[in-house]
Amino acid sequence: MSASRTRRVRAFTSAALGLSLALTVAACGGTTQDSNEDEGGGGDEPAATADAGGEFETGLSIAMLPKSVNNPYFDASSEGAEAAVGELEGEYEYTGPSDTAASSQVSYINTLSQQAADVILLSANDPNALCSSLEQARAAGTSVVTFDSDVDPSCRDAFVSQVDGAEVGRTLIEMMSEQIGGEGQIAILSATANATNQNAWIAVIEEELANNPDYANVELVATVYGDDEDEKSFQETQGLLQANPELKGIISPTTVGIAAAARYLQGSEYKGQIALTGLGTPNQMREFVKDGTVTEFALWDPTALGELAAYAGAAVASGIITGAEGDTFTAGELGEYTVGADGVIILGPPTRFNADNIDDFDF
């Protein structure tokens, strides 16, 4: 019955189109990216003014929401935050998804805002996807402080940055240049291609290479992405070495990448031939520093980062700071910090780890 068949076909098609059009809301003129440019940015700044000399409130409920819970880096941050919350006599909770999807974090933000948490300390999986739920949470009275990985400045009160991005980039290229004797080809093994932090640091490295005469003989030949997966980082390292026979060194500004690359070099004929540096944790890298695969690498202290984030969060919730530039607060033993532009609070310069000092750290 071809008549009924065509009828069905038509019914399917029209239903499909109808559904999509139903969602298309009214708007006729055509909403394009260009018509959208004035949107975004400049969110509602809190009207309150900072009470710089104020005291921290006690009994604050402070929750840390990491990118994913099964990550030792965030475990270390959580330790610091928990200690700080203990100091402040608040309630601390560490919760989050087991995967690193932004949508999973949204559910947790919603849950925390339902539970009327006073402060959410967030390391974001996506700079934009979380904004709407963060706004809802803030409207319900929750203070949001991001750390490690930021969201759009309009959807949080403050961002605790592990480090000044420019300084990380400079440290990385400096270490590399020292290790390869100031000349030769280098490559970068990064995390994911849209990782905000890594991309910022890589930009600094590229700028240094272009403008700083110290690095005139250093050439960046490739940037590859290991997606923060062991296997992938392994393979990308192999690929780098094969594709670039003249390669002298690899910078891996991510903890997963540097460990995977070190492990690969350790078991290959390139051990000792290729310099490897980047950002890694002492516990992960101790092995490779001791056997000479890696000479020196850097990182900030994630525990201190968590601690500072917790103090910053409590400061916002207590009205000590609003996130405006110039606000100051005291973060326990870490000392006094000043809020910079866009509500950014910087922890401090990265620590360099090498055979001499690595045994002093345990994280």
Binding site: T24, Q33, E39, T95, D99, A101, S107, A193
Partner: protein, 347 residues
């Protein structure tokens, strides 16, 4: 008198058929009751669960699962499966980002996404029906392929600058109420699918196809065509979910909805749909979706750890198939025992 077909070849069919049908009525009914009970108990015992705001969050969370579960139910009822739905969501989301970056108006992009989804579904449909390949293998293949293409399109970047009019509406509420805007269209679509499955000739054809494809084709049902259009529908709905997902999180990303196919299949099976086809009701599936998502919501609110969520989802999936089997096995044993008791004295 010729070759003896006899009752033997498919001997235990009649019995299992009867038991299965009574179990069916029992199972999806049971899921509806359990879901209702669960929500009442959770509202009473879990702090913040019963609030209207949480209900709003819950509805937004379950929307994609629910929408994808509708065509998935129909496909599983025909005895096939579509594991590529979440990847289709990812690919349409990526496509949406790319089109937006290229300056297309959203009003064009959104229907286009549905069409793209339908085309992706049609690819599945062609492999399954025209080439006669097992749908499990085909859709595992397209699961990888579509997700891969999503990354090829958009890489690891995200497109986020969608207009607030749209993103706001997606997560917004109806007027001053706390009923999300998406609830009404969602219910309409669900009602449409329920009507098709349970009260139209097409629905009869779908059920017949799953229960016995040979007999269905002898009854003049174009089995292949039915399946093909279901895959197209599944793709179109996945495209719609891709639009919804992108606007809800104001973020078009290649990895959007990764792994969601498992939740969808779990919810459908939990709702009492037989993985072998031929049996299943949409009210049961709706209850399955609500149960699964509200359970996760309640566990999160009760600060139960993520690992428990994972274990619960997996266990529910197994139990939803295992439990009816155990019930059937027990009943068969009992009825056989009864039959023996009845027959022994007479012989």
């Amino acid at each position: 008198m010729s070759t003896e077909t006899a009752p033997d070849r498919v001997a235990d069919r009649p019995q299992s058929g009867r038991l299965r049908s009574s179990r069916m009525v029992g199972w999806d009914g049971a899921v509806v009751v359990v879901t209702a009970l669960f929500i009442v108990i959770a509202a009473l015992t879990v702090e913040h669960f019963g609030t209207s705001r949480n209900a709003g969050f819950l509805i937004l969370d379950l929307a994609p699962v629910l929408l994808l579960a509708l065509p998935m139910t129909l496909i599983i009822v025909t005895g096939e499966i579509d594991l590529s739905v979440a990847s289709t969501v990812g690919l349409t989301s990526s496509a949406m980002g790319v089109m937006w970056n290229n300056g297309l108006p959203l009003e064009t992009i959104m229907p286009l996404c549905v069409v793209i989804g339908a085309v992706l579904g049609a690819v599945n449909g062609i492999f399954v029906t025209a080439l006669g390949l097992p749908s499990l293998a085909v859709t595992i293949g397209t699961l990888a392929l579509y997700r891969g293409l999503a990354f090829v399109l958009l890489g690891d970047t995200a497109v986020a600058d969608f207009p607030r009019d749209f993103t706001g509406w997606t997560i917004g509420d109806l007027g001053a109420s706390s009923i999300p805007n998406v609830l009404i269209p969602m219910l309409v679509i669900a009602g449409l699918f329920a009507a098709v499955l349970h009260a139209t000739p097409t629905g009869r054809a779908i059920v017949a196809t799953g229960a016995n494809a040979t007999a269905a084709s002898f009854a003049g049902i174009p089995v292949g065509r039915v399946k093909f259009w279901l895959y197209v529908t599944s793709g179109a709905v996945a495209g719609l979910v891709g639009v919804f997902w992108t606007l809800r999180y104001s973020s078009a990303r290649a990895d959007n909805a990764a792994g969601l196919e498992l939740t969808v299949v779990a919810a459908v099976l939990l709702g009492g749909v037989s993985i072998f086809g031929g049996k299943g009701t949409l009210p049961g599936v709706l209850a399955g979706v609500v149960l699964l998502t509200s359970l996760q919501n309640a566990l999160r609110l009760a600060d139960v750890s993520t690992e428990a969520l994972t274990v619960v989802t997996g266990s529910l999936l197994i139990v939803s198939v295992l439990a009816p089997n155990v019930v059937t096995a027990v009943r068969t044993t009992l009825s056989r025992r009864r039959a023996r008791l009845r027959m022994t004295p007479t012989s």
